[in-house]
Symmetry: C2
Subunit: 81 residues, 2 copies
């Protein structure tokens, strides 16, 4: 089974890396972009002997405890297959 | 309009950061995880005066030229709305 975790900055938290990418895009001539925000993405491979609900619980905990900083970041967990 | 870009390491490319996260998860008692790989995620906000196909072309170019290193990374582009 595979899970996907997206970690994104909460709305309102400054994203200087996204701003730098946005600036690069404009410098290279890409117009019509109003904002770029960078996040993190994790693919987690889970052994098949674990049920989907157990896997979801484990991945939620890993996302909260290890992958995201809940003060400034949001996360979403998705079980892919 | 909003676009999402996922940038992931190509299969076979070593991911020491993912390995470190996997090790942390095991140390904290999460079992049943066979692999964790880290990628990047970008949300790109596009002005509404651009058509969806133009937006897709622009975002594909930005992903190829700025966001991903095509030697070691794959990318996917998705138009969200």
């Amino acid at each position: 089974m595979k899970a996907a975790v997206h970690v994104t900055l909460k709305p309102g938290v400054l994203d200087p890396q996204g701003k730098a990418i946005h600036h690069s895009a404009e410098t290279l001539g890409f117009e019509g972009i109003s904002d770029i925000r960078q996040g993190k993405y994790f693919e987690i491979e889970i052994v098949d002997s674990i049920s989907e609900s157990e896997a979801r619980n484990a991945v939620e905990s890993i996302a909260r405890d290890i992958l995201a900083n809940p003060v400034i970041e949001d996360y979403t967990v998705e079980i892919l297959r």
